[in-house]
Amino acid sequence: MTSNIYDFSTLTGQIHTWLSGLMSPGWVTFTEFVLVGLVFLLAYALLGLFLVYAERKVCAFMQNRVGPNRVGKWGIIQTIADLIKLLLKELIPIRKSDPFLFNLAPFIVIICSFLAMAAIPYAKGLQAIDFNIGVFYVMAVSSLSVVGILLAGWSSNSKYSLIGAMRSGAQIVSYELSVGLSLLSIIVFAGTMQLSGIVESQANGWWIFKGHIPAVISFIIFLIASTAEINRGPFDLAEAESELTAGFHTEYSGIKFAFFFLAEYMNMFIVSAIAATVFLGGWMPLHIGNWEGFNQIMDYIPSIIWFIGKTFFVIWVIMWFKWTFPRLRIDQLLTLEWKYLLPISLFNIILIAFIVLMGWHF
């Protein structure tokens, strides 16, 4: 089995013992809370900034460009410069808007992505909250962000925003189904909803390999549906640039806009992390059958690297989608879901159930 050299639980355990030696149990819990909070806050902000940078570079390379290259080496701190600029921008209140909902909306989208971040197993022993219904929880929380988008569009008293928000609503409620069903297919394989449990069940092979073709199909469906759920191209109808200028966040300026932007990228990270965890083995290294030497070498790569590598691969694929395809129209978007993805995923689950029943998976 996998080696334990990079087990983060030993590290966290050591910190816990060290803290316990210093103060009373109540304070220990408090300090740990603060520490975890700080770590996540930092990770969240840095990841968001990095993802924006990565997106700009990826699309630049796909379009025969260089991308940002002025601020810092290879433009690496470009996004930080952008963040400072956004912080310094005026926050414009919109006439006749609903100020309470208008200001609430960025909170909701950020809270949703933050809550989802909590349940993802980043590495062996590195997971903030290990729910026994982890998959379910992440799905539920991440789909809540539509409320934020709807509020943003509705409250800004702009016609473009409202159209964008309504589109986003119709889109997310539809694609939520396919996301759920495609994740369900792996739950049937793994027999658990706990994210760490799903990762453990892939110790001897990732589900996308073990699960035969149905797993591949549900992986593709998950990719498509989750791309739609996070409002990214080709499903970015909510902010369809050429039609609605900026869709639901047309009226937001400065840092409030930045939060919608950040939330979009963090949602992309979250769905990619879920895809990596559920289909691609999470932090489990790549093992091939009985190649002992190969498996040994793979084990020496730290689990967090595995996780990040897989996640970024999925992120890259999602970016690849965005920079290749034209945008769908709202009715085609719904047709795709209800007439293609949903029936296929229903059929796929029966297939998987049959495979599991016959014990054909490894």
């Binding site: 025969n64 050429s242 945008r327 769908l328 709202i330």
Partner: protein
């Protein structure tokens, strides 16, 4: 629930939603304002409002000499600047009955086609972007750069090159012109299939463009929709065939016609025209005759009194120049019948009942250049 019942259930059936698209909108390619009445997401009707960059070119011409007018026409359809210039030249040459040298005709025709290619490339880029395929923009512009470099080498300017003069050209083409044009043809022949793979074949693109914005042949003729937009409806309106000018009567080429009349047909016409333009250039580029680059002209050009009318095919359709001269060195009245002016107003007719997203696709497929409408 049958379809009728669902219709009854529709709340807000009478709710009309007036949305202004433009003048500051990413998809109108300039300062065009479309007042769109929506029901849900369906367009009920739309009213185009123009005039945001009306510069009164027709009035200005009344105070300028003919060579000076030529460089004004650049600013109408700036994407087919050379063809616009040529239109005025042809009128002047017609009126003064000047026979321009063969070499000039050949070069003008090559430049026409290069300009058409550059224009279609930019249209392809922008059309892809209208539909949300953002990468097309960069590929199209990347390839357009080749043509612009050729232009820059010969004329010294990239977009608005007042290269033609009544009776000929400003100066001879650059010695590298033929070589670089041939290089471009081989290069672009390789890139065009990529365009097809990226956008033309794409299933999302098909769904977004097929059957959208249907324009019948009668509508096209009635509204005077010419150029690739009209030919997408089967309206045979290619001036290069009807009234050949330049060296068009010396080359073999087909008038591209599609009969479907939808956005995809208009798209296909332009894509096929790019191939056809490459063919035309290829036929001419090696056969440019030697000779003078301009005919003998008097220093001051005065048209004999009378009325002159000449049509050329720009990248967007039929540009007609109508000159009323009273024998002076500037025209008494000059009228430009620009293609986009007619092409725009068919939009209300063909966009009724489609979605907002389709409206963008339709306006993209008509390939509007706003300064050409406003003049």
């Amino acid at each position: 629930m049958s379809e009728e019942i669902i219709k009854d259930v529709i709340i807000g059936e009478n709710e009309e939603y007036i949305v202004n698209m433009g003048p500051q909108h990413p998809s109108t390619h300039g300062v065009l304002r479309l007042e769109v009445c929506l029901k849900g997401e369906t367009v009920k009707y739309l009213i185009p409002h123009i005039g945001y960059i009306h510069r009164g070119i027709e009035k200005m011409t009344e105070a300028l000499t003919y060579p000076q007018i030529i460089h004004l026409t650049d600013r109408m359809d700036y994407l087919s600047a050379h063809i616009n210039n040529e239109a005025v030249c042809l009128v002047v040459e017609d009126a003064m009955q000047i026979e321009v040298p063969e070499r000039v005709k050949y070069i003008r025709t090559i430049l026409d086609e290069l300009n058409r290619l550059a224009s279609h490339q930019l249209w392809w880029s922008a059309f892809g972007m209208d539909l949300g395929a953002l990468t097309t923009f960069f590929y199209g512009l990347r390839d357009r750069e080749y043509i612009l470099d050729i232009f820059e080498e010969s004329f010294g300017s990239r977009l608005l090159h007042s290269f033609v003069m009544p009776g000929g050209l400003m100066h001879d083409i650059h010695p590298n012109f033929q070589k670089r044009t041939k290089e471009f043809i081989t290069y672009f022949r390789k890139k065009l299939p990529e365009y097809d793979q990226l956008l033309t074949g794409n299933v999302i693109f098909h769904n977004r463009s097929k059957g959208i914005g249907y324009m019948s042949k009668e509508t096209a003729i009635g509204y005077g929709v010419t150029g690739p937009s009209g030919r997408g409806s089967g309206f045979s309106c290619d001036i290069r065939k009807i009234a050949p000018y330049g060296a068009y009567d010396k080359v073999q080429f087909n008038e591209i016609l599609e009969t479907e009349g939808d956005t995809f047909a208009r798209y296909q016409v332009r894509m096929r025209e790019m191939w056809e333009s490459l063919n035309i250039i290829e036929q001419l580029i090696d056969n440019i005759p030697e000779g003078d680059y301009t005919a003998k002209m008097k220093p001051i050009i005065k048209l004999p009194a009378g009325e002159y009318f000449r049509r050329v095919e720009t990248a967007r359709g039929e540009l007609a120049v109508y000159v009323v001269s009273d024998g002076n060195k500037s025209p008494y009245r000059m009228r430009f019948r620009t293609p986009n002016f007619s092409n725009l107003f068919v939009m209300n007719e063909i966009a009724k009942g489609c979605k907002i997203a389709d409206l963008i696709a339709i306006s993209g497929s008509l390939d509007l250049v706003i300064p050409d409408i406003d003049r």
